[in-house]
């Protein structure tokens, strides 16, 4: 297969993407006009994007189309007009613009907050309380072919010894969170154990995340390396030079200004 020529729109895209990437990275040096430009462009595009998306997916698909279809098919049915309810609630939120009647928006807030609180209760109890208890409460010993045994293998998460460690960890960290109990005497020992568990876990989670964060940077750099190629018109080196030069010029200008004042 012959080497494909990259379409102009892709090359243009590569330049735009590379430029914006470098502008944002320049923030690692310090706040500067290029970062401000990148930041405001980014925020602007994201707002515009949300507006378009909300228009088509919410107003069009969830509100207008069902209403239109419903009115055409069952104009008399009450269910047809159901999307009007959230539309009305949405309008109530907009009363915020008019201080006199802005209290009406509370009705919508009550609706949203009530729904959220209600939905949360049984689901939280199910997956964050009962499920967690269920997974913690495990027999410490197993009955095998050769009788009763307690697993001492640290490498197997289900072994008896790990079940005990897990139990100690959960109980001591939970104890640390007690608000109305003084952390003195045996309580202090338990709470201290809890703190150590917390710190080890936080350290481990931190160390574990390093890898996936580095993967992101590697991915980003790989794109920049790709765009450095001749087929993209050497976008990366050219734009890198432009960025560095403009930063230097800006730095000089601000220094001169500061010196002049």
């Amino acid at each position: 297969m012959p080497e494909q020529l990259i379409p102009t729109s892709v090359v243009l895209g590569a330049w735009v993407a590379t430029g914006l990437t470098l502008f944002i990275y320049s923030f690692l040096y310090k706040d500067n006009p290029l970062f401000k430009l990148g930041e405001h462009l980014y925020v602007g595009v994201s707002i515009g994007y949300s507006v378009v998306l909300v228009w088509y997916t919410v107003f069009f698909r969830l509100l207008w189309e069902p209403l239109k279809k419903g009115i055409a098919e069952h104009p008399a049915a009450l269910g047809t007009y159901e999307p009007v309810i959230p539309a009305l609630l949405g309008m109530l939120i907009l009363t915020q613009f008019f201080p006199k009647v802005s209290w009406l928006s509370r009705i919508a807030f009550a609706f949203i907050v009530g729904f959220g609180s209600g939905v949360a209760i049984p689901r939280t109890v199910s997956s964050y309380i009962l499920k967690q208890i269920e997974d913690t409460v495990m027999p410490l010993a197993t009955m095998g072919a050769d009788g009763l045994s307690m697993g001492l293998d640290l490498a197997s998460p289900q072994s008896g010894i790990n079940t005990i460690i897990l139990l100690i960890g959960v109980v001591s960290v939970l104890f640390y969170f007690f608000f109305s109990v003084e952390h003195t005497g045996p309580g202090m020992v338990t709470a201290r154990t809890g703190i150590y568990f917390l710190m080890i876990a936080f350290g481990a989670a931190f160390g574990y995340t390093v890898m996936s964060r580095m993967s992101l940077l590697i991915g980003r750099f790989r794109d920049l390396i790709t765009f450095a190629g001749a087929e993209y018109g050497y976008a990366t080196p050219v734009l890198l030079l432009v960025t560095v030069l403009s930063l230097a010029a800006w730095e000089l200008a601000t220094r001169r200004k500061a010196g002049g004042e």
């Binding site: 923030f27 310090k30 706040d31 990148g38 930041e39 980014y42 925020v43 595009v45 994201s46 707002i47 949300s50 939120i93 915020q96 509370r106 919508a108 807030f109 949203i112 907050v113 959220g116 609180s117 939905v119 949360a120 209760i121 049984p122 109890v125 199910s126 997956s127 309380i129 009962l130 208890i133 269920e134 913690t136 409460v137 495990m138 027999p139 410490l140 010993a141 197993t142 009955m143 072919a145 050769d146 009763l148 079940t163 139990l167 959960v170 109980v171 939970l174 104890f175 969170f177 007690f178 608000f179 109305s180 109990v181 003084e182 917390l198 936080f202 350290g203 989670a205 931190f206 995340t209």
Partner: protein, 406 residues
């Protein structure tokens, strides 16, 4: 003890040879699957000692009155038993050790609610086939999931404990609360901002108004704003969700009124940036770099943006106080902020800051419930271990109460 596996082994290889021709399954029943949304039937029959992996069971079903039967499932006859942990003891569809098969509606054999179906089993071994009696069943959706009744009881009991401790706190408001350093620092952070003449930045997290952690963050915002109102300090609250923004607007306004400083309230305290995660982060980082707030508050739920925000804030030398229930982001808050409210402490913060009996009582109620859960875990582990040692399932009557069933 050595003989046990040997006997088992003999049974395994010898089983089919001694068992003779397959017998038709005993006690075969078909009924509506309990505790479900309908469109499914349940089949139950007694286990037989001659069940083996070489003997297969086929499920054949037809609409009633039966005309053409269709094979809908096939499996070895020594599988699909009711096991401990599948169902709670108060909602068992069949006895322990019975065979249980759930027959959901499928493309191959759709099941509709309210329609009768006939099902029979074909036991097949070698060249021999034996049909069971046919049984009829009608599927229907149910109005209550009995298997989750323990969840409901838990919620009701927790409500009771909560209301009880709130009432108790009203009668006796002097409850000991241990110190939380992050909350002692709130006042200090506000004071420092005032001294330095720099603004205070407060973020409510990434959640919408139906997220409980966002609600907690807005409640704390009210109390922070009340303290801020006493000083001549600017409060800045950039938002990702317009509804949260509107709610916070009301909360902050009210806080200034309660503090007796309605004149000091500025309409532009709360403002919206964008609903997109990383452009919001870029903009907030920009605010931190340009306006150099002396105190940054991060409350509510967060995702990957957490470190992008806190590390920038640390670079500007602000006092940073975080509070989040997002356990995956806690390591980053703990390492980059001066104070972090870990998990539950986010929900306790408003009680600490306000000292209102309702809130303090809630903490007491939560402590009781936590103690109860700790007890359940310790006792449960002991009972589960005893169950293994004594070879009994009697303790499951207790353990099942704290399992999550779907």
């Amino acid at each position: 003890m050595i003989f046990a596996p040997l006997v088992f082994f003999l049974l395994l290889i010898g089983g089919p040879a001694f068992a003779g021709p397959p017998a038709s399954p005993d006690g075969f029943r078909v009924f509506d699957t309990p505790n479900d949304a309908g469109k499914s039937l349940s089949l139950v029959w007694k286990a037989s000692p001659s069940d083996s992996k070489d003997r297969t069971v086929q499920v054949w079903a037809a609409e009633f009155p039966p005309a053409v039967f269709k094979k809908v499932a096939e499996f070895p006859s020594n599988t699909r038993y009711v096991r401990i942990g599948d169902f709670p003891w108060w909602a068992q569809p069949a006895g322990k050790g019975d065979h249980y098969v759930k027959l959901p509606s499928s493309q191959a054999f759709p099941i509709e609610d309210g329609k009768p179906y006939t099902v029979k089993l074909l036991t097949h071994e070698g060249t021999q086939d034996v049909w069971s009696e046919a049984a009829e069943g009608v599927s229907a959706p149910n109005y209550f999931n009995l298997a989750q009744v323990n969840n409901l009881v838990f919620v009701l009991a927790f409500t009771g404990v909560l209301l009880g401790s709130i009432a108790a706190a009203r009668r006796n408001p002097h409850i000991y609360l241990r110190r939380i350093a992050g909350l002692d620092a709130v006042e200090e952070a506000i004071g420092r901002s005032t001294e330095m003449g720099r603004p205070i930045l407060y973020l409510t997290g990434s959640g919408g108004m139906s997220d409980v952690s966002t609600i907690a963050a807005t409640v704390i915002l009210g109390q922070v704003a009340k303290k801020v109102a006493h000083y001549e300090t600017t409060l800045k609250v950039p938002h990702r969700d317009p509804i949260v923004m509107a709610v916070c607007q009301e909360i902050v306004k009210e806080a200034y009124v309660e503090a007796g400083r309605p004149d000091a309230f500025k309409e532009d305290t709360n403002f919206f940036i964008t609903d997109d995660q990383f452009s919001y982060t870029a903009a907030v980082d920009g605010i931190m770099l340009r306006e150099k707030p002396a105190a940054n508050f991060f409350m509510g739920s967060y995702f990957a943006e957490s470190l992008l925000l806190t590390e920038t804030g640390a670079g500007t030398g602000a006092i940073q106080i975080a509070g989040t229930d997002s356990d995956h982001q806690l390591p980053f808050f703990v390492t980059t902020c001066d104070y972090t409210l870990i998990g539950e402490e986010l929900y306790a913060a408003s009680a600490y800051l306000s000292r209102e009996p309702v809130l303090v009582g809630t903490l007491r109620g939560q402590d009781f419930s936590k103690a109860f859960i700790m007890g359940v875990m310790v006792i449960g582990t002991a009972l589960a271990t005893a169950g293994v040692m004594l070879q009994t399932d009697a303790f499951n009557y207790f353990l099942d109460l704290f399992r999550d069933f779907k």
